[in-house]
Symmetry: none
Subunit: 212 residues, 4 copies
Amino acid sequence: MNERSFSEAPVPATTRRTVSRPAIEKRDAILQAATRVFARRGYFQSQVADVARAAGVAAGTVYLYFRSKDELLVSIFERTMRDAMAEGRAALTHVASPVERLRRIAQLHLARMGRDRDLAIVFQVELRQSTKFMERFSSSYLREYLGLIRDTIASGQTAGTFRGDINPTIAAKVLFGALDEMATNWIISRRRYSLAAQANLVVDLFVNGVAR
Amino acid sequence: MNERSFSEAPVPATTRRTVSRPAIEKRDAILQAATRVFARRGYFQSQVADVARAAGVAAGTVYLYFRSKDELLVSIFERTMRDAMAEGRAALTHVASPVERLRRIAQLHLARMGRDRDLAIVFQVELRQSTKFMERFSSSYLREYLGLIRDTIASGQTAGTFRGDINPTIAAKVLFGALDEMATNWIISRRRYSLAAQANLVVDLFVNGVAR
Amino acid sequence: MNERSFSEAPVPATTRRTVSRPAIEKRDAILQAATRVFARRGYFQSQVADVARAAGVAAGTVYLYFRSKDELLVSIFERTMRDAMAEGRAALTHVASPVERLRRIAQLHLARMGRDRDLAIVFQVELRQSTKFMERFSSSYLREYLGLIRDTIASGQTAGTFRGDINPTIAAKVLFGALDEMATNWIISRRRYSLAAQANLVVDLFVNGVAR
Amino acid sequence: MNERSFSEAPVPATTRRTVSRPAIEKRDAILQAATRVFARRGYFQSQVADVARAAGVAAGTVYLYFRSKDELLVSIFERTMRDAMAEGRAALTHVASPVERLRRIAQLHLARMGRDRDLAIVFQVELRQSTKFMERFSSSYLREYLGLIRDTIASGQTAGTFRGDINPTIAAKVLFGALDEMATNWIISRRRYSLAAQANLVVDLFVNGVAR
DNA sequence: AATGAATGAGCCTTCATTCAT
DNA sequence: TATGAATGAAGGCTCATTCAT
């Protein structure tokens, strides 16, 4: 991967703020095509021209919507995370019970990945190629996501539902790591099973432990 | 990454079985240099010439010991996993208690990664770039490693230490995912802390859960 | 020379059939540059970058018009042979006399080589580097060319102009070999003389023999 | 092909003049192996290590007998031509008739090639790769060989057997070209037939022409 | 004389990106 | 906005040759 820039999302810029509807649609089409192509061939094996072809546009057109090939990957991540966080927060609005909140988080997490295998592949595999790349991610949405889990755990501790002697930061990583591994394993596995169905099992394990 | 071959390790061999000591040493030196270089620059940014220079040999010499650049990566994985599995099995020989066994596994896992940051980077980041690559890994040593964890959990169930109503396969993934995330987070994090020290915390959480 | 593919000519095509004029011109320019460069430096000593520079395009551009370095060589052969066969057939249309036909063939053959020393060098030297390469050639245009000569001889036999006791296939090879050697010798020789002027001498010798 | 040197034949040089019998034998073995390997794989595809292996020696050993890979090719040519010229002259000693002399030359030429297909391939194909290479050849043995033919023809003219109005130099090229083409065609052709058997046909054609 | 491990120069090809239209 | 032809930097790998043993 060449020098990653990680700069602002470039939107076709005739007018800065009002981006026309068809422009957004084309941008989305390209992003979707990129997800499909990256998932099938892998990021490095994929050529920008492949993405363009899959999106039904010319190679040069991709660069009207994205600054670079890297940015396609970054944008897939950001769009998905933005959606996920928004959906997550909405889903948690009226859920008070910490356990139930974790359950919702896990369900949404695995459901989103399980719903779109190509997206899942990009998230679980293609997105993890360089420390720079990962640092960039962890310091933004991922930090936010881990924070959401951590806060939920902490509030569970405050409420007396969860043990006070555990470190909520570490616990958050444990849960995230577990969900992440579920998703990765689902990608890799030849067998086809419901990923979402594992959410409750994971949360149950996380909450109650393996001990009798 | 180009077509990976994953074929046998090509060691310059005077006779097939007896590989001379200096040959082994040079091979190891190259592998170590590769770990360092890949970790610092990333696999794709690294040139074979960089690795050669770091190992103090000529570029062409790398190809006397490894079939391709890819094979350097594969070999780092395989050598480490082989060592880790051997060390793991040895360390578990006389440990009967399931909880203690999990603790040992976690400790060895995080200690190994925490001991060599470069190796950890290669393992947590560089090695996860393509589905093909990951499939190859999961179907060998990783499967074996997950199996080791799963069997430990299952024996804990048999012994009555662990709940009978959990799926040991899923539980194994949960624990592995948690450890894996610890390592990844440690890599990414700017702060320097002891990775190994988290082993007990993770296992405690895994065994007892967050619930009061 | 690497694995030769000998596949279809890859012409950048807006539409499959209508190749734009400038595209054809650029392709021709590259082919001409390749002829010049290969003749001066030899095929293996020539770099694709040399050809590109001589053609006034970037190195990558060559690959928009030709699949590989090999294909440049193949294309020079094919374009020349196509032209030569077309010109040859046209020139023979109204020539009935077998001797006169042979004379025309020889004249065109040597005139074409004598007209473009670079092309001659590529034909007489660079194009004869591997059995695979030569097999490929002999089984296409060369076979056709030898066939043209053989048929002319055979018709001369039928007409009673030529002896009936000679094998026209062998006679064709003899004439072709003679012309080919004339060309090769002309290439190699330091002295500059008219190659075309030897056509009649060769044909006279071929027709009448050296015997008094 | 890299810079060709075309320098003196390097003989293992412990003592300059007295080359031990086994040294000569090893040199010959290498040359024979080279002929076989070059013929099968082509000169450029062949590695010096291939030749060494085929000769049953180590790669470095080849360089004790030959200065370079190029020189292997050159030496094959020179050894064969030396033998051929010697054999030729001997065979012609007591043959006075010009036609008969030509017949002997043609027979020896085609018999030698027809006897050793690998050698024939090297001579007809591998040896003709660069102008420099060919210039080197033409200016030595080839010139001598053509001279032999030319002189024979000239003496035939003096004797009144051959027409006085032909240019013996051109006639010599014609005959050589004819023989050369016979050999090349025999190499390329899938069909297996006697090459030597064509000698008389070619000479008859050369002497008497195709005309009735 | 013989070995074969080591060297390192050399080059085809790909493909992200640009830009004239 | 859209196109797609053109660019040119970049690098993995081969293999003839050397040389310490």
